[in-house]
C-alpha cells in the first residue's frame, strides 16, 4: 500500500479505535431520534378551529426547522474536524511518534496528504450518513423531502473539509490546542462575517457587504453553509424571499441563490492552496 494510503488508513483506524466514531454515531442516532419525534409533533399541531395544519404549512415549518438542525450538524462536523485536525501532525511531532516513521522512505507530503485523506473520508462519511439518517427521519415524520439532498451533503461535507484543511495547516507548525482553537475561532468569525455581509446586503452598504465577501474568500465555510441552506429551501420559501428583495437576503439561515460558480471554483483553488501550504510548511519544518 502506498504511504499516502497507509497514513490515511492509520488516521481512520485511530479514530475508530479511540472510539471517536462510536461516540459520533451514538450522538447522531440520539439527535435523529429526538428530532424525528419533534418533527412528528408538527403534524399533530392543531389550529384554533381544531383542525390539523395543512400539509403545505407542515412542509414549510419542517423545511425551516431542518435548516436549524442541519446547522447543528454542520457545527458538530466543523468542530470535530477542527479539534481532530488541530493536533493531527503537531501532537505526533511533539510526542516523537512521527520520528521513526519519517526515518522510513516516506515523503513528508505523503504524511500530510495521507492524514488529510483519512480525515476527509471520515468527514464525508459522517456528512453523508448523518444527512441520510436525518432526511429519512424527517420524511418518515412529516413526509417532507429536501429539494437537493445530494448538494446538501456535498456542501456540509465541504464545510467540514475546509475546517479540516485549515486545522491541518495549523497543525504543521502550532500545538494541537492552539491550532484547534484558531480553527474554531476562524470558523465562528467567518460565520459572523457572513452575518455582517447579510446586514450589509439588507442595508445596501457595500463596506459591510465586502466583509462578508472577503470572509468567504479567506475561509469559505460560511459560503458553503449558504449552499447547504439553499439546497434545503423549498420553492415557496425561495419565491417569498426573492419577493422580499434585499431584506430577504439578510438572514444567515436563508439563501436566495445557490453559491456562484466563481465561488465554487475558488473553493477548489482554496483547498489546493491549503494542502500545498500544509505540505510546504511541514516539509520545511525541522523535527
Amino acid at each position: 500500500m502506498p504511504p499516502i494510503l497507509v497514513f490515511a488508513r492509520l488516521t481512520v483506524q485511530e479514530s475508530s479505535r479511540r472510539r471517536l466514531l462510536l461516540a459520533l454515531v451514538i450522538l447522531t442516532l440520539l439527535v435523529v431520534g429526538f428530532s424525528a419525534w419533534g418533527f412528528n409533533k408538527i403534524t399533530t399541531v392543531t389550529r384554533s378551529d381544531g383542525t390539523l395544519l395543512p400539509p403545505d404549512q407542515v412542509s414549510l415549518i419542517t423545511s425551516q426547522l431542518l435548516i436549524v438542525i442541519t446547522f447543528m450538524y454542520s457545527g458538530v462536523l466543523a468542530l470535530s474536524a477542527a479539534v481532530v485536525a488541530g493536533p493531527l501532525i503537531s501532537s505526533e511531532v511533539e510526542s516523537g511518534l512521527l520520528l521513526s516513521m519519517l526515518a522510513r522512505p516516506v515523503r513528508r507530503s505523503e504524511v500530510v496528504i495521507g492524514k488529510w485523506l483519512g480525515l476527509a473520508i471520515l468527514v464525508t462519511i459522517y456528512a453523508a450518513g448523518s444527512a441520510a439518517l436525518e432526511l429519512t427521519a424527517v420524511n418518515w415524520a412529516t413526509g417532507y423531502e429536501a429539494p437537493h439532498p445530494i448538494e446538501l451533503v456535498l456542501y456540509v461535507a465541504a464545510e467540514g473539509l475546509a475546517l479540516l484543511s485549515l486545522g491541518l495547516l495549523l497543525s504543521t507548525r502550532l500545538s494541537g490546542i492552539t491550532g484547534g482553537v484558531i480553527a474554531l475561532v476562524a470558523w465562528l468569525m467567518a460565520w459572523i462575517a457572513g452575518v455582517v455581509g447579510d446586514i450589509g446586503t439588507g442595508l445596501q452598504n457595500s463596506a459591510l457587504q465586502n466583509v462578508g465577501t472577503i470572509s468567504h474568500l479567506l475561509l469559505p465555510t460560511d459560503g458553503l453553509w449558504r449552499g447547504a441552506v439553499y439546497a434545503m429551501e423549498p420553492d415557496v420559501i425561495l419565491t417569498a424571499l426573492r419577493a422580499a428583495g434585499t431584506a430577504g437576503r439578510a438572514n444567515p439561515f436563508s439563501a436566495v441563490d445557490p453559491p456562484p460558480t466563481a465561488f465554487l471554483a475558488w473553493v477548489v483553488v482554496w483547498f489546493g492552496l491549503m494542502l500545498t501550504l500544509s505540505i510546504w510548511s511541514f516539509r520545511t519544518r525541522e523535527i
Binding site: L10, R17, R18, L99, A103, V106, E286
Partner: protein, 312 residues
C-alpha cells in the same frame, strides 16, 4: 583529510561519512563541523554530555533536520536519499508508538513503510519480537506497555528489514540492568551479521562494553575519536584520602584532571611514575592517604579528562 565517496562505489562506501557537518539554531551552534567516518559492520559510540549535539547529529544524518553547511553520506548515498532509508533502522531518543495498536501491528506498519514484501512480514515481525523479548506481549495494545517495553518495541521496529545501518539514540534509557544486557547482546549480534551500529549514549560503561570505536562530542565538536585502545591508553589513579581542604585540592590540579568524589579522588590521567610525588604532595598538604590504586583509564576517566581539558 576525508575523501568524498565517488559514484559507483556505494557498495564499498562506509556506513557513515560526514564532512564539516554544521547545524545552527538561530545563534546557537548545535553542531560545529562534524567530520567522521564509520566503517561498515562497526559499532560506533557517539558520546557526550547532555546538549552536546548527539541527537542533532543523528537527526541530521536521518534527514529530519537540514544541515546549515557541510555534507554527509549514508551507505554511500547523500543524506536525505529516500531509497537509502530502506536500508536504515532508527530508534529515536524520544520513542513513542501508536498506543491503539498492538506490537505486531506497529511492526507491520514499519514493514509496510520500509517497505518490505508482504510475504516476509510475518517472519520479520516474529524474529524482531523474539530478539527484543516481547513475543509474549505481542498482541497487547502498546498503551498497556511500560516505558521499558515501549523502548524494546522501538528497538524491534529499528531491526525490521535487516538494515545495514542502525541508529540507536540512547537505546537503554528506560531499561533495567537485564534489559541493558539484552540490548548489548542485540548490538553485538547486529555487528556480527555486518550491520553498522551508531550508538548514541551518555552511558559510558555501556559504550565501553560494546563499541569498537568512539567519538566524544562536546559543544557540537568532536573533541576526541578513535578505537577504544587508542583512547584508553593512559593510566588513572584513584586515591582514598581525607583532610584536604579546597585550597589543597586546587594545588593538586598540577597532577592533571581530577574527579573529586569526596573521600575518593581520581586523577583521570596520571603517569604511574608520578604516583610517589602525588602521595608526598598530599601528605605535605595535610592529607591522610589510606589507599592508592593506579589502573588503566576507563572510558569515564577519559571522558571526564577530555571535558576537563575542553573547559580550560
Amino acid at each position: 583529510m576525508v575523501a568524498t565517496p565517488e559514484k559507483g562505489v556505494a557498495a564499498a562506501a562506509p556506513a557513515i561519512h560526514t564532512v564539516d557537518l554544521t547545524k545552527r539554531f538561530g545563534s546557537t551552534e548545535a553542531l560545529a563541523g562534524l567530520s567522521m567516518t564509520v566503517p561498515r559492520g562497526e559499532i560506533f559510540g557517539f558520546l557526550g554530555p547532555n546538549g552536546a549535539g548527539k541527537t542533532t547529529s543523528v537527526k541530521l544524518l536521518l534527514g529530519l533536520l537540514r544541515p546549515t553547511s557541510g555534507e554527509a553520506w549514508l551507505l554511500g548515498e547523500p543524506i536525505g536519499d529516500l531509497a537509502t532509508r530502506r536500508r536504515i533502522g532508527y530508534l529515536p531518543e524520544l520513542f513513542r508508538y501508536q498506543g491503539w495498536l498492538d506490537a505486531r501491528e506497529v511492526l507491520a506498519l514499519h514493514c509496510e513503510l520500509a517497505p518490505l514484501p508482504r510475504s516476509t512480514w510475518k517472519e520479520e515481525i516474529t524474529a524482531a519480537l523474539e530478539t527484543v523479548g516481547l513475543s509474549e506481549r505481542a498482541d497487547d495494545r502498546v498503551s498497556t506497555y511500560s516505558k521499558g517495553m515501549q523502548q524494546r518495541l522501538g528497538l524491534a521496529a529499528a531491526l525490521v528489514g535487516k538494515p545495514e545501518l542502525v541508529f540507536l539514540d540512547e537505546p537503554t534509557s528506560a531499561l533495567d540492568p537485564v534489559g541493558r544486557h539484552d540490548v548489548r547482546e542485540i548490538i553485538r549480534g547486529l555487528s556480527a551479521r555486518g550491520t553498522a551500529v551508531f550508538l548514541n549514549s551518555h552511558l559510558l560503561s555501556e559504550v565501553e562494553q560494546v563499541c569498537d570505536r568512539v567519538a566524544v562530542v562536546d559543544h557540537g565538536r568532536v573533541i576526541a575519536s578513535g578505537t577504544m585502545d587508542e583512547l584508553l591508553s593512559g593510566t588513572a589513579v584513584k586515591v582514598r584520602v581525607s583532610g584536604l581542604d579546597d585550597s589543597a585540592l586546587t594545588k593538586l590540579a598540577a597532577f592533571g584532571p581530577l574527579d573529586d568524589e569526596g573521600e575518593h579522588l581520581t586523577f583521570t590521567k596520571l603517569d604511574i611514575e608520578r604516583v610517589p610525588e602525588l602521595v608526598s604532595t598530599i601528605v605535605a598538604l595535610g592529607g591522610r592517604v589510606y589507599e592508592v590504586a593506579p589502573r588503566h583509564q576507563t572510558l569515564e576517566d577519559r571522558f571526564l579528562q577530555l571535558l576537563h581539558e575542553e573547559e580550560k
